[in-house]
């Protein structure tokens, strides 16, 4: 199981800030994850926006980036500063 985090407005869109989830076979990188999850939740593309960055195990990654079923993966919309 992977642990997913949704920050900022994505938390509202997903209806939760975090969940654990079985990543389906074939979803092996961040590009596939974005597309699959956005379609699965019928989000209309908000998870595939390039301004949404991904962090894997607390590191913001360059994409596409390989993922595994034990990762902590966070979806980070543009940061607004404090």
């Amino acid at each position: 199981m992977a642990t997913l985090f949704y920050l900022g407005r994505l938390m509202d869109a997903l209806g939760t800030g975090t969940e654990t989830l079985a990543i389906p076979p074939g979803v092996n990188d961040t590009a596939a994850l974005r597309t699959w999850l956005d379609a699965e939740r019928q989000l209309g593309g908000i998870l595939t926006e390039p301004t949404v960055r991904l962090a894997i195990n607390d590191v913001i990654v360059s994409e596409p980036c390989a993922i595994s079923d034990t990762d902590e993966i966070a979806f980070l919309p543009p940061v607004g500063g404090g």
Binding site: L7, G8, R9, D12, D58, P77, V79, G80, G81, G82
Partner: protein
């Protein structure tokens, strides 16, 4: 020293504590940012700030390290609120100490530009019309750009 606090704090107490650490400095600059009562969507009742640890802390610590590399600082302090806060409450406190005032001013200004533009926070304003997530302002980016242009 970097702290994220989920409760109210007193900027004056923060300065007093900083002064003790900064003993021997010639110049101390402090910046206090207060929650504004008006936002893009009208009167703000509550401001909510979300961090993502440890990315948020790591980013601020890197900005502090960059400030300490650029300017001869003897002490720095960053305190940032997270969670729910009311207008007029302190949201951020930055203090810098140096032998000379120019370094202290520039480093505090630099850290505030980082905190207002690149820091890993998501911000939501609650107004009479509901909740609104706030996107970055262009003005914040141009402030931040000043530092890459001037060199070190």
């Amino acid at each position: 020293m970097v702290s994220l606090l989920d409760h109210a704090f007193d900027a004056t107490d923060a300065l007093r504590a900083f002064e003790k650490r900064a003993a021997g400095a010639g110049a101390i600059v402090s910046f206090t940012g207060l929650v504004r009562d008006t936002g893009k969507f009208g009167e703000v009742m509550t401001l909510h700030l979300q961090a993502y640890s440890p990315l948020t802390e790591r980013g601020i610590a890197a900005a502090v390290a960059e400030a300490e590399a650029r300017w001869p600082l003897t002490a720095t302090s960053v305190i940032h609120r997270i969670g729910d806060m009311a207008p007029a409450e302190p949201i951020v406190f930055v203090a810098t100490a140096s032998a000379h005032r120019r370094a202290a001013f520039e480093a505090a200004d630099f850290l505030m530009d980082y905190l207002k533009t690149e820091a890993v926070f998501w911000k939501k304003e609650t107004t009479a019309s509901g909740d609104h997530w706030i996107e970055p302002r262009n003005e914040d980016y141009s402030d931040r750009d000043r530092w890459s242009k001037t060199g070190s």
